[in-house]
């Protein structure tokens, strides 16, 4: 359970993030948490709510808004993912998500830099937070400049016990990223791990000069994954094919084939080039409060009810 100072910090962050995006001309949206159909992602398990689901991410609704209204949008909302419980995972967590029209994943990386700099500068001058922030790894880290951008292939070559190709071949990509690569990322300055293999980015656009790679990145600070962003795939036919593959995998595992999000695919046809990012709000609070457990940075964790 979060103490008063923690509650104050969460509130200050929410306020500053909203101010940041308003200043940049983004429209704040609030979309339904409970939905009858989800974007199929075989690695993410939804929590049922009656015959509907709690959202695993606001992506579906936000991209439909984006397709119908050419405007930059953001949202801060709860997301729910079944069976995710660990030092950095809660089944209910808070997501900051934003989308840029006409932008690509490089613009989103720039957004991350600007946003985190703004947050640090704004918080460090507030007396109630300055000591906490200054003493955190986020406080001692250079966020002013020198952010690193490392490709997935470079990271595997540098830290992996096998090549990227071999890891994909043996279905050990996630394991190696998690165990061998993540601990090295974002130790001195925040690091973007970018250009993921196409097979690891079901909703992302492929790179024009190399279709084996997707325009997707993850932001890491102090070995912790904070955000996942990518240039949006706007080809509805291609997206339907990729969803079919995801649905195949889910059906194989669950024995039931979820419904195809047809209305989403319909709206995707009118989506102009855009980019979107999901940023774990609670993990940012973990960094600022130097907390080891995500449980410690939410107002109430599941443990507080048991």
């Amino acid at each position: 359970m979060l103490d008063f100072k923690g509650l104050q910090l969460r509130a200050a962050l929410l306020r500053l993030i909203r101010r940041f995006f308003h200043q940049q001309g983004f429209l704040e949206v609030d979309t339904p948490v409970r939905q009858p159909v989800l974007l199929p992602e075989s690695n993410i398990l939804p929590i049922n709510s009656g015959s509907w689901f709690l959202q695993t991410s606001p992506e579906q609704c936000m991209k439909r808004i984006l397709a119908r209204n050419r405007v930059n949008i953001f949202q801060i909302c709860p997301c729910f993912r079944a069976d995710e419980r660990g030092s950095r995972h809660l089944e209910e967590f808070t997501m900051l998500e934003w989308y840029r029209i006409d932008g690509d994943y490089v613009d989103l990386m720039d957004d991350c830099e600007t946003l985190l700099r703004y947050l640090k500068e704004s918080l460090i001058i507030q007396t109630e937070f300055s000591d906490t922030i200054a003493g955190s790894c986020f406080g001692t880290m250079t966020v002013e400049s020198g952010w690193e951008r490392v490709t997935v292939a470079e990271a595997f070559a540098k830290w992996g016990s096998m090549s990227l190709a071999a890891a994909l071949e043996s279905d050990r990509f996630d394991e190696l990223v998690s165990i061998e690569i993540e601990p090295h990322l974002g130790l001195h300055a925040p690091t973007f791990l970018c250009d993921y293999p196409a097979s690891c980015a079901s909703l992302a656009r492929l790179k024009k000069d190399d279709i084996s790679l997707a325009e997707r990145f993850e932001l890491y600070i102090a070995g912790m994954e904070l955000a996942n962003g990518f240039s949006e795939l706007t080809d509805a036919d291609e997206q339907r094919l990729r969803f079919e593959e995801e649905l195949d995998r889910i059906e194989q595992r669950e024995g039931v084939r979820p419904v195809m999000p047809n209305k989403f695919l319909e709206d995707l046809k009118s989506l102009e080039p855009a980019a979107g990012i999901a940023f774990g709000f609670d993990r940012l609070v973990m960094l600022l409060l130097s907390a080891d457990l995500i449980n410690q940075v939410v107002s109430f964790s599941p443990d507080d009810f048991e």
């Binding site: 992602e41 690695n43 993410i44 069976d83 995710e84 419980r85 660990g86 030092s87 950095r88 995972h89 990509f173 996630d174 394991e175 990223v177 998690s178 165990i179 993540e182 993921y196 690891c200 980015a201 079901s202 993850e218 994954e225 996942n228 595992r253």
Partner: protein, 187 residues
């Protein structure tokens, strides 16, 4: 059967036919990737430890473990003998199997013996045991040296730190999980 999402610290599962306990557990899930269940496991028979990473679709058999209430009788060399208080069956565990438990064991103490199939592999003691202090330095009253504990030896030969007022012949309560002094017991 357990599935990977059941894995947690303290769970006992069967691996290669032997019971293992999860001593450390970490859930991780990179980006939009697969869930990974990283475990440090301890073989409950040999005590050897190793780490392994499991996936969502991994399944685990439950270890066939059973606890029986038994009474400690005596030790002979490296053998610690116990008796089942219901059927009077006797058995022993080795010093290696007993580990730190020998520090708290007195004759006639009731313990839980853990069986893997027919085989005794471990014991668990009551959380708190009362033991008699057999050796303690007297407390120099007015000692202002700043140390607030002193070492004593209890009847099992175990040494621990206690508050200065504890004297030889006192009975003290010890927490068997940590080996720490809890309180002095009045008889």
């Amino acid at each position: 059967m357990f599935s990977a999402s059941d894995l947690r610290k303290g769970l006992k599962i069967l691996i290669d036919g032997e019971p293992h306990i999860i001593v450390d557990f970490e859930f991780s899930k990179p980006g939009k990737g697969q869930a990974l269940y990283r475990c440090k496991l301890k073989n409950m028979i040999t005590g050897s430890q190793f780490s392994n990473t499991y996936r969502s679709n991994d399944k685990f058999e439950k270890a066939d473990l059973e606890e029986r209430k038994m009474q400690y009788l005596y030790n002979q060399g490296d053998e610690y003998h116990f008796m089942d208080t219901e059927n009077y069956e006797q058995l022993f565990l080795t010093g290696e199997q007993m580990g730190d438990n020998v520090n708290y064991l007195v004759d006639n103490m009731e313990v839980q013996v853990l069986f893997f199939g027919p085989r005794p592999i471990d014991i668990s003691l009551p959380i708190f045991v009362n033991l008699t202090v057999t050796q303690a330095d007297p407390w120099a009253r007015g000692d202002t040296s700043g140390t607030d504990t002193k070492p004593v030896t209890v009847e099992t030969g175990y040494q621990l730190q206690v508050p200065p007022f504890v004297e030889e012949g006192d009975k003290i309560q010890i927490d068997t999980r940590s080996g720490d002094y809890v309180t002095r017991v009045k008889e």
